[in-house]
Symmetry: C2
Subunit: 238 residues, 2 copies
């Protein structure tokens, strides 16, 4: 008779590449996984939600939940949640891009920890990436370390939840190689900031970083893309 | 011509006593106040929302927003959000009560900081109280200090938001005296964990702490209560 307690990991799954690989790692490290997806009024919300559902079905996760943080869009402050703002074309690596959503990751992490505490989970996995994340302040290691202390102070004394950031030190090329080794279903993901259909734009910052990383990893990106601009083509070949 | 930038304070307003007094302080300290109320599937949500709306109308705040964190109820883990669980009768001061909602304050604070960053606000006010809060881990000063570091790490470098906890060191009696000095409209608040109408139960932990504090402050509580049990009556006279 096996009386060992099953380990549970809550994983934040956006529908993109990075969180897919984080989920693949959580599934290896935990007995059961709860997948949490937040929709927050971003313009590609429906497409990302579909990616989340496809990924959860593929892995047959123990629990899957979609939460609505639509108030973050109402607050404003980001091109990603403002239907009138323009998503910048091409790579912009200076400073914080206008796609930054104020304090978004703290909102999503807080929900993940609430669920983890209610489930009795040991860990919350988040696929943040320090190097390749083009300057979002809430993707950095210092941010995660401080949030860990908030978790320790803000939950019951007998709750012991670790924030796991298994890909934080990797670049996107390494993440894709790692995901390929885990047989991660890249074809089910969505990264484009602009399009919501079957074909990604290929020209927004998120598409460009993804395309360049697949190329560098020597792996074919299974998604379909619109025709790339000359500048975009040059960028991904650099 | 006054070219000084107006100071803005986001205040988390539950509809209860403590956050009313925190709001009164924010209104004195800031030029403009944004009031944020979170509903999270708690059983008295409608009544608390009414209290929030009445308070915002009374003070004519610059912005008021209600956000839905209903997923916290779906996660479970608290009698406050579980319609089948029993709210304990009478005071229970040992350990963490079953009304604790896992990591609730972090979720609400995170939303407040998102709004503050989008508005360009300088502060987020929260009416947490260390001493009188019957053991909720996310009401303590260490928790707030760590959360402050998350705010510093997790927002734009040019964002400078302080988490203000103006009543954290006070007990409820002192809070009521402070609120009375600010002419805070106590009659618009709601504290009861059980009832949602015009009459509070008078016997749940929240009612008892409130009634005792008004009595100790020598101020009459303007709310109406059901008949108190003998035990309750003894408690508030202690």
């Amino acid at each position: 008779m096996d009386t060992d307690k099953k380990t549970i990991g809550v994983t934040l799954v956006s529908g993109g590449l990075d969180s897919l690989v984080a989920l693949g790692i959580a599934l290896k490290e935990c007995d059961e996984v709860a997948a949490l997806h937040a929709t927050y009024g971003q313009r590609t919300a429906d497409r990302e939600r579909k990616a989340f559902e496809d990924i959860c079905a593929h892995y047959d996760v123990s629990w899957a939940m979609v939460i609505d943080l639509g108030h973050i869009a109402k607050f404003g402050g980001s091109s990603l949640t403002d239907p009138d703002a323009e998503i910048p074309e091409g790579p912009i690596f200076q400073g914080i891009p206008n796609t930054y959503v104020p304090f978004r990751n703290t909102n999503i992490l807080a929900a993940g920890v609430s669920w983890a505490e209610a489930l009795g989970a040991e860990a919350v996995y988040i696929g943040v990436v320090e190097e390749d994340s083009s300057g979002y302040p809430d993707c950095r290691r210092e941010f995660i370390q401080n949030f860990q202390r908030v978790v320790e102070e803000g939950t019951r004394p007998d709750t012991d939840i670790i924030i796991r950031v298994p890909i934080i030190s990797l670049n996107k090329t390494e993440i894709i190689r790692l995901g390929a080794g885990l047989n991660a279903p890249f074809e089910l993901t969505w990264s484009c900031y602009r399009n919501s259909g079957d074909i990604a734009c290929g020209n927004c910052e998120s598409c460009l970083l993804r395309l360049r990383a697949f190329r560098r990893a020597g792996i074919e990106d299974p998604l379909k893309y619109e025709e790339l601009s000359e500048e975009a083509q040059k960028f991904i070949e650099r």
